[in-house]
Symmetry: C2
Subunit: 207 residues, 2 copies
DNA sequence: GATTGTGAATAGATTCACAGCT
DNA sequence: AGCTGTGAATCTATTCACAATC
């Protein structure tokens, strides 16, 4: 928005971390904080905090530090989470239904507005405030509610076809939980989150 | 194990990806593959595959490629997933119970041998093959079953105390799903997986 | 002839250290 | 006096390109 698109995903993820820290500071009624103090409290690097923030503009006051509320607002705008993002979940298995009812979404900018599955036994069942709809209705619903983001929680072998269906439905971004290398459409950003890769990373260090 | 410990987490995660690809190739009865062909099939980089693999030894045959079954075995040993890893889940909320019954664990080297919560209403309930136990029993069970890895699925405000309890119980590694910056004990490897950070990364690119 | 393994080259990320503000 | 913002230095990762090998 305010800056170029070519920031590294690592730096971008750190911006999210800073935002989370700032929210916590605000709850603790801390109004001002220096990069040094923030690094100390949250086990981060002060130089990196300053570099990351300076990349997007001058957010601090020399000699003083950062205004917590102000910086938080700026970072929320930066990440685009100052407005709501309509989202859907595709795959009403255990993980999909768990996420559908995730209370953290209440305080986030992401609104889960649909939950889909292609198993007729699941279609029509209620999950919290949502009713499972058939995957074939994906296209209509994405258009109707203006869904931008899809969370993909289908089995590995169904991931690609569902990704393709989401692309066709006009979704903008996909968070994929299936352990596959998706063939990506350049118009639709995707991020894969694979539990076993995290566990294997930990396993490597077990000796 | 076979090599130094100072590999980057990125390269390590790519090794997991290669392993996943090799398993898929084996199912398709592909016995030999070149880095180029593998890169092409799975949308990876051939040079990087070779560099990553060569870092741990000479696994291929010049002019020919890699033996799928052999390379798979080597990578499994490398990651330490050729033996089973006893694991527990702490936090029997929606995410914890969904993971407890995750069918993917059946074919993995990770065995979920305990599920814990401190809510007395949850203690004693069954989740698949597991019965929820009270968190105060953590220490005993970790010792009894020799649990190495804990998956932490408690609310954010309870994450640090549960992490500390796991450290005290002698756990070796923790996969944390709570959105907090944990204060880490240097003896216990931890990896935090934060859903909102992934979603915010996607949100940034929505324009 | 084909493909690996690898040093050299490039690109990218992090840390240092201090000039420039408040 | 203290802290940010930043260029320069360092460290790390990726890509290139080719000699070594089958």
């Amino acid at each position: 928005m305010s800056h170029q698109d070519d920031i590294s995903p690592l730096a971008l993820n750190r911006i999210s971390v800073y935002l989370r820290c700032l929210r916590q500071l605000q709850e603790q009624e801390v109004h001002r904080i220096s990069s040094k103090e923030m690094a100390h409290r949250f086990h981060l690097s002060a130089a990196q905090i300053r570099k990351d923030l300076a990349y997007f503009g001058e957010f601090g006051i020399r000699g003083v530090g950062y205004d917590v509320a102000h910086l938080r607002e700026r970072l929320e705008k930066l990440l685009g989470v100052e407005r709501e993002h309509p989202a859907i979940i595709v795959g009403a298995g255990r993980v999909g239904t768990a996420l559908a009812q995730f209370p953290g979404f209440r305080t986030s900018s992401f609104r889960i507005l649909g939950l889909f599955d292609n198993d007729p036994r699941k279609v029509g069942t209620r999950q919290g405030e949502l009713t499972v709809r058939h995957s074939r209705e994906l296209g209509t619903v994405v258009a109707d509610v203006g869904a931008e983001i899809a969370i993909l929680t289908v089995p590995a072998e169904a991931a690609q076809e569902n990704y393709d269906a989401l692309v066709a439905a006009g979704i903008k971004a996909v968070l994929n939980f299936a352990p596959v290398q998706l063939e990506l459409d350049p118009r639709v950003r995707a991020k894969t989150v694979d539990l076993t890769i995290f566990l294997e990373e930990l396993a490597y260090f077990l000796r």
